[in-house]
């Protein structure tokens, strides 16, 4: 990553969204930008048009019990410019009960399953997703197991099946 990585993307976003409330931070030369949920599509579109052509990962973090956290959920976009090798982390924060965020599928098609997995595990709804449903867990599953207030052993989902006895099988 070049030294000017942050300033490059800072300029891009300042030019595209002069009024957006962006917060920049850095850890070991990895650059992050915190974006309000309302501006996420504009930010991601501007970054994609400026050369961030790959969405490496889209995931979420539950910040319940996290020291110093003020928001409940954090949706994380890990972006890569495959030409220059520059990377950027875009983060946005969500709170209950408004766990809705616009889908990134129109920007990067690869966000399809990633968003469905985030919904599956955290219950964050991606609006505008073309095929929005659970990815890994059964359709009838009602909880979101990666939330920190969900017990590791579950709420009895693993027991909710009919019992077949030998006489009736």
């Amino acid at each position: 990553m070049t030294e000017s990585a942050e300033s490059d993307w800072k300029q891009v976003l300042e030019k595209a969204l002069p009024s957006a409330n962006l917060r920049w931070s850095e850890f070991r030369n990895q650059h992050r930008v915190d974006v309000p949920a309302s501006a996420i599509v504009a930010v991601l579109t501007a970054l994609r048009d400026a050369g961030m052509d790959q969405l490496c990962d889209l995931t979420a973090v539950d910040l319940l019990e996290y020291p110093g956290a003020t928001d409940r959920f954090e949706v994380v976009y890990l972006l890569l410019n495959t030409t220059s090798g520059q990377r950027l982390t875009v983060r946005t924060h969500l709170n209950e009960p408004d766990l809705k965020i616009p889908s990134a599928v129109p920007i990067w098609f690869g966000a399809d399953w990633l968003e469905r997995e985030v919904y599956d595990m955290y219950g964050i709804v991606f609006e505008g997703h073309p095929n929005f449903k659970r990815l890994l867990l059964p359709e009838a599953f009602e909880s979101f197991p990666m939330r920190k207030d969900y017990p590791v052993k579950g709420r009895g989902e693993r027991h909710n099946f009919p019992i077949i006895t030998r006489a009736e099988s």
């Binding site: 059964p138 197991p145 590791v152 006895t165 099988s169």
Partner: protein, 200 residues
């Protein structure tokens, strides 16, 4: 009359019951259905391979359709999404049929005490022989098959009527006390507190 026949025929004729004859035949030609989902499946393959040679016990004909099998070997952990599949495969097997639960995960969930992994397949389907181990050695599976052969020979009937007696679930109770205790410890609740129902 019997002695007369014995004299004439000698050792050329054996007298037995129909149940014993049918069970003897069945016990020595088990057709396993490998339901292998994890590392136990590798040991299951090893058991069937040349070194351990399961065919010595007449049960080497692994078929991948349940309709041709009479022994289901569940080898590996079973997650909750798999249970309807497992039950469907079990129901598709023709009578008489038996089930071996191979390995710690299939028997009890093993180390995977999570929301997604079933804590023992015997909670949802009947199991005849349990094999402990993580994963069990092929010798242990051979031992389990020999035990099952023993069971078939001793309790089997030609029309499989012994299964009609097993009308209760084979596994632990839906709500075993250990689990209640763990929930109680975790939440600081009393056993008779119905506000927290972990099943529903």
């Amino acid at each position: 009359m019997a002695t007369q026949i014995n004299k004439q025929l000698g050792d050329n004729i054996f007298l037995t019951t129909l149940d014993a004859a049918a069970s003897w035949a069945r016990a020595n030609s088990l057709w396993p259905m490998p339901f292998a989902t994890a590392c136990c499946g590798i040991e299951l393959m090893s058991t069937a391979a040349s070194r351990h040679d399961l065919s010595r016990f007449g049960s080497e004909v692994m078929r991948f359709t349940p309709r041709q099998c009479d022994l289901m070997i569940v080898a590996g952990r079973v997650v909750m999404k798999m249970i309807p599949v497992l039950q469907r495969i079990w129901m598709q097997m023709p009578e008489p049929k038996w089930c071996i639960s191979m390995g710690a995960c299939a028997c009890s969930g093993g180390v995977f005490d999570t929301y997604a992994v079933v804590q023992g397949i015997d909670r949802f389907i009947p199991v005849d022989v349990y094999v402990p181990g993580c994963p069990p050695r092929p010798e242990q599976l051979i031992r389990a098959i020999m035990d099952l052969q023993d069971k078939i020979k001793k309790t089997g009937t030609y029309n499989a009527r012994e299964f009609q007696l097993r009308i209760l679930p084979d596994g632990p109770k839906r709500f075993d006390e250990d689990e209640l205790m763990r929930i109680r410890e975790r939440n600081g609740l009393k056993l008779d507190d119905h506000k927290y129902d972990p099943i529903h």
